[in-house]
């Protein structure tokens, strides 16, 4: 009996669909991680300024967001002004002297709601404080 002969053509794996799938997976994970990062941001109408610092994406700081109803958000959770000091202290202990605070506030929020936050930050001796702004001239 003659042994069935396997043709050479079918013996090697076809790489094209595998590369297609691998590329699709890479794109999927890149996009999903990017979208996950974007979700952190609370959408706010920031104040405008021109004398801001240049963009530094590598700088990591604790972001305190204040929305239109003057609620304070830290890491996605609403924090009362009374307990902000505790949150800041925790952050300060973790960062070991390299603490930096970034305040994102809606432009329509009154200064009296921001002043206590700035005060708390100053009391704890955190010098590196910034207000998030967008480029432009207001009014």
């Amino acid at each position: 009996m003659r042994v069935p002969y396997q043709s050479r053509l079918t013996s090697y794996a076809n790489m094209t669909p595998m590369i297609d799938v691998v590329f699709l997976l890479i794109i999927f994970f890149l996009v999903s991680s990017h979208l996950a990062r974007q979700e952190h941001r609370l959408p706010l109408d920031l104040p405008l300024a021109t004398s801001h610092l240049p963009l530094n994406p590598e700088k990591s700081s604790l972001t305190i967001s204040v929305d239109l109803s003057s609620k304070i958000h830290v890491a996605g959770e609403v924090v009362e002004i009374g307990s902000l000091s505790g949150v800041l202290r925790q952050y300060l202990d973790k960062e070991q002297g390299e603490a930096s605070i970034r305040i994102r506030t809606d432009g329509a929020v009154q200064y009296r709601f921001i002043e206590p936050i700035l005060s708390e930050v100053a009391k704890l001796g955190i010098g590196d404080t910034a207000i998030a702004v967008q480029e432009g001239n207001s009014l």
């Binding site: 590329f23 699709l24 794109i27 890149l30 996009v31 990017h34 979208l35 974007q38 941001r41 920031l46 104040p47 405008l48 300024a49 021109t50 004398s51 801001h52 610092l53 240049p54 963009l55 530094n56 700088k59 970034r102 305040i103 994102r104 506030t105 809606d106 432009g107 329509a108 929020v109 009154q110 200064y111 009296r112 921001i114 002043e115 700035l118 005060s119 930050v121 100053a122 009391k123 704890l124 001796g125 955190i126 010098g127 590196d128 404080t129 910034a130 207000i131 998030a132 702004v133 967008q134 480029e135 207001s138 009014l139």
Partner: protein, 148 residues
């Protein structure tokens, strides 16, 4: 000599399907990864109150004389923004910029303290802060309220 003949019928036809596949993939990738949010920048801000660590906080001494410090008070009365620098009225943002520039050009660098009233929004407070920085002030500070 005979020239080698090419198989003309098959080599000319381009396969469109894989190209469209790739183009669509690239399109989807760039549309998803591009962010349509405006970039956010940092405006360094500090407080006039010294970080003493204590609970007591002193109110800012307001001295009209000299240029030891420039206190920019801002209030909103009947929807209008009223700006006063060391108790001297300034009518508008652009005159304020000029006023601060003329003082800073004298060669002194007094700290500029922005003191917005309760009604003033952050949009205006940040605008004043920005104007003071833009005018060339080294130290621009937000005023702290005396604690009750």
């Amino acid at each position: 000599m005979r020239l080698p003949t090419r198989d003309q019928g098959q080599s000319i036809s381009l396969k469109m399907t894989p190209m469209i596949d790739v183009v669509f993939l690239l399109l989807v990738f760039f549309v998803w990864t591009s962010s349509f949010d405006l970039p956010e920048f940092d405006l360094p801000s500090s407080m006039a109150q010294p970080p003493s660590g204590g609970i007591e906080s002193e109110s800012i001494k307001i001295e009209a004389e000299d240029y030891d410090e420039l206190i920019v008070k801002v209030d909103e009365i009947n929807g209008e923004t009223v700006i006063r620098v060391n108790d001297q009225s300034v009518d508008g943002f652009e005159p304020l910029r000029g006023y601060l520039k003329s003082i800073l050009e004298l060669g002194i660098q007094p700290p500029v303290i922005i003191d917005p009233s309760d009604r003033v929004t952050m949009l205006i407070a940040v605008r004043l802060y920005d104007i003071a920085r833009d005018a060339g002030a080294d130290r621009v500070l937000f005023a702290a309220r005396p604690s009750e």
